[in-house]
């Protein structure tokens, strides 16, 4: 994962509450086997007219937001499906940070696994950012994870909170699995201490089960 330390970029406003992950990446694009290439389909149904012609009414298609790398969003951003295709598409499109008053749980988690920083600000701060974005073409902000602050060239300075562990992982671009495997001895000890419970940790015996993989394919 690429570390996230500090990012400065053009802000694109997405002025809707409850933007769900079905909108970020519609179902027909969930059939691929890669983590790359979803930027083209981000917000597909909103972004394109039939024949994949850009819909001029969708905000990301406005020339002034071309090259944006920070999404300014409303409450409960990323609700719905757990599909990680949503943050993959956001990153692949070129976004590195999100500013919103709140996020849905699974999506928020998924962002940190992909080097995207979802910043939580108050409703009033988000309103102010929408106002500034609308007012000034080319409005840019700097999102500084080290200092935990969002700033602009006109003196705006919003501090934000983020869990220290998540912050550290993002700053260093740490591999989550690698971090857990450091505790391999603990995992093994836990398994050894609990293996005998018939319902919990013992390997499931599929032998008394009539649908073995062999028979399943040919029934």
């Amino acid at each position: 994962m690429e570390p996230f330390i500090k990012h400065t970029g053009l802000v694109a406003p997405l002025d809707r509450v409850n933007v769900d992950t079905d909108q970020m990446v519609p179902k027909q694009f969930l059939k691929f086997q890669t983590r790359q290439g979803y930027g083209r389909v981000l917000f597909y149904d909103w972004r394109y007219l039939p024949g994949e012609k850009p819909n001029p009414e969708f905000v990301l298609n406005a020339p002034r937001y071309k090259g944006a790398s920070v999404i300014l969003a409303r409450a409960n951003f990323g609700c719905g499906s757990s599909r990680e295709h949503a943050p993959w598409a956001i990153l692949d499109y070129g976004f590195h940070a999100i500013l919103a008053p709140s996020y849905a749980d699974i999506f928020y988690n998924n962002c940190f696994k992909n080097g995207i920083l979802p910043v939580t600000l108050s409703n009033e701060q988000i309103d102010e950012l929408f106002a500034r974005t609308e007012k000034k073409e080319g409005y840019r902000v700097t999102v500084d994870l080290e200092k935990q602050v969002v700033t602009d060239d006109d003196g705006l300075r919003y501090a934000f909170e983020v869990d220290p562990f998540r912050r550290d992982c993002l700053l260093k671009g740490l591999d989550d699995i690698g971090l857990t495997l450091v505790h391999e001895a603990r995992i093994s000890a836990f398994e050894a201490a609990n293996l005998k419970h018939p319902a919990m940790y013992e390997a499931v015996d599929v032998k008394h089960h009539s649908d073995s993989p062999q028979s399943a394919r040919h029934n």
């Binding site: 809707r16 509450v17 409850n18 769900d20 079905d22 519609p26 179902k27 027909q28 969930l30 059939k31 691929f32 086997q33 890669t34 983590r35 409303r74 409450a75 409960n76 609700c79 719905g80 499906s81 757990s82 599909r83 990680e84 709140s102 849905a104 749980d105 699974i106 988690n109 998924n110 869990d163 220290p164 562990f165 591999d175 989550d176 699995i177 857990t180 495997l181 505790h183 603990r186 995992i187 836990f190 201490a193 609990n194 419970h197 018939p198 319902a199 919990m200 940790y201 390997a203 499931v204 599929v206 008394h208 089960h209 009539s210 649908d211 993989p213 399943a216 394919r217 040919h218 029934n219």
Partner: protein, 550 residues
Amino acid sequence: MRQLSNRLEGKVESQPEPNTSNSGIAWPVAAAERVGLRSEGLAEDDGIVTIGVGRLYAPALIQITGTLFPRQETKRMAARTLYEKIWDAHVVREEPGQPTLIYIDRHLIHEGTSPQAFAGLKAAGRKVRRPELTFAVMDHSVSTKNRLLPVLDADARGQFEALERNCAETGVHLFDMNSKNQGIVHIIGPELGITQPGQTIVCGDSHTSTHGAFGALAFGIGTSEIEHVLATQCLTQFKSKTMKVEISGKLPHGVTAKDIILAVIGRIGIAGGNGYVFEYTGEAVRGLSMEGRMTMCNMSIEGGARAGMVAPDETTFEYMEGRPFVPRGREFQDVVDFWQTLPTDPDAKYDDTLTFQARDLAPMVTWGTNPGMVTQVSDRVPDPASFSDPVDREAATRALVYMDLKPGTAIEDIPLDRVFIGSCTNSRLEDLRAAAKVVAGKHVSKSLKQALVVPGSRVVKAEAEAEGLDKVFVAAGFEWRDAGCSMCIGMNDDVLMSGERSASTSNRNFEGRQGKGGRTHLVSPVMAAAAAIEGHFVDIRKWNNVDGAE
């Protein structure tokens, strides 16, 4: 009730093993006495003995009676909720200021969100740590028509082949599309007994909350986390807050589990549960079958909650007994003893409580583009101007444009194009029985383009066919299909065309969810069935041929 004492006696003489912790577990005094545990190692309080031991689970605990700690070392457990008990039992590593590493008992995967996880694992040279604890199934993109025909969708075929290859290479058990146990992942987990009370269960699918109906901690995860579980059988997690959602009293005639959960989401909104795990309690919840409890827990995520749970009880144990992956005979008795320790302690505290009176509930219909935009069937489409919050007002305005609905329209006057009975929310045998009862001897409205019944699993399908439900549906003009996610997500060819309107027993009415430009109204199976007959919504409470009348 099964007799506790019969099962404990034979194990008392087992030799102790070294143990490393002194977590306690509570046992009914009477049961402990019968096996000779009333001794120095016990702390007694309120009819419960607490034994300090190194094992957290009942059967193993009995085996190590010889290591009972002296009374003064016994650690009294504070009263805990169901969620806290499961959490505590799965902590692998806990450090201040860091998320907790918890163990995962069951990992379910499907073709849609797992290929990148296996690819990542392979690229890093890592192995699947416990392949026997992961179960795979093909459900999201499978055809509900003829499975013997080749899969024409090359991308979907690629995912099926990848899942087959990944499972073969790693030793993960796969229910492929031709398995007689194939079905939607959240239907087959419980149905086969893979899902059990007290477990931690994850799946790369937000509706994993379904499994909480058994008193398990179950939640959806992203693909990176799938890879993490494959590699480590653990997840790093932050502890959630707990919300008690109590439904008091008995459900009125025609009101189902689906209506309860839609009413809950309607009240709290789709972000109302963010940061929480819900525990559903109260007489109405106790009175639900496992199927109904699954419907409620399934849609917890639609209220923003990480998980939904129901404490296991006799209904749960009866459901579990005899299922393929559930222990048999004496082992089953042992595991029931453990399950009985799971319900929230009487004095345990929740972070928040929500209370509903069952008698106030009614059949619900969504009118907008998220499950929180919902009202009673006897109501009208709301006027956006009636919302005090400007953000809600704008969202409602936008939703009504997408849904092509006018404020003030009676819900019962909304005409439909298609009806879908299926999905991990409502496609179990009980759902199909209830819907069949409504349509028996009737015929779907001529104004409908399609009425579809998609059983949640092939087991459900076979059971329904054994009862002749397929014939009832087909005679009434429904299509009877093979098992899968189908029109809930529209990844196969079961989709709404642009502008079409559906009554659907599924869980999400997001824009384009069932097909680009499609308009979804979420309802219960009996409401969908009745709507299919009339071609528009009707108040099922006015019909007599409905289950659930009290």
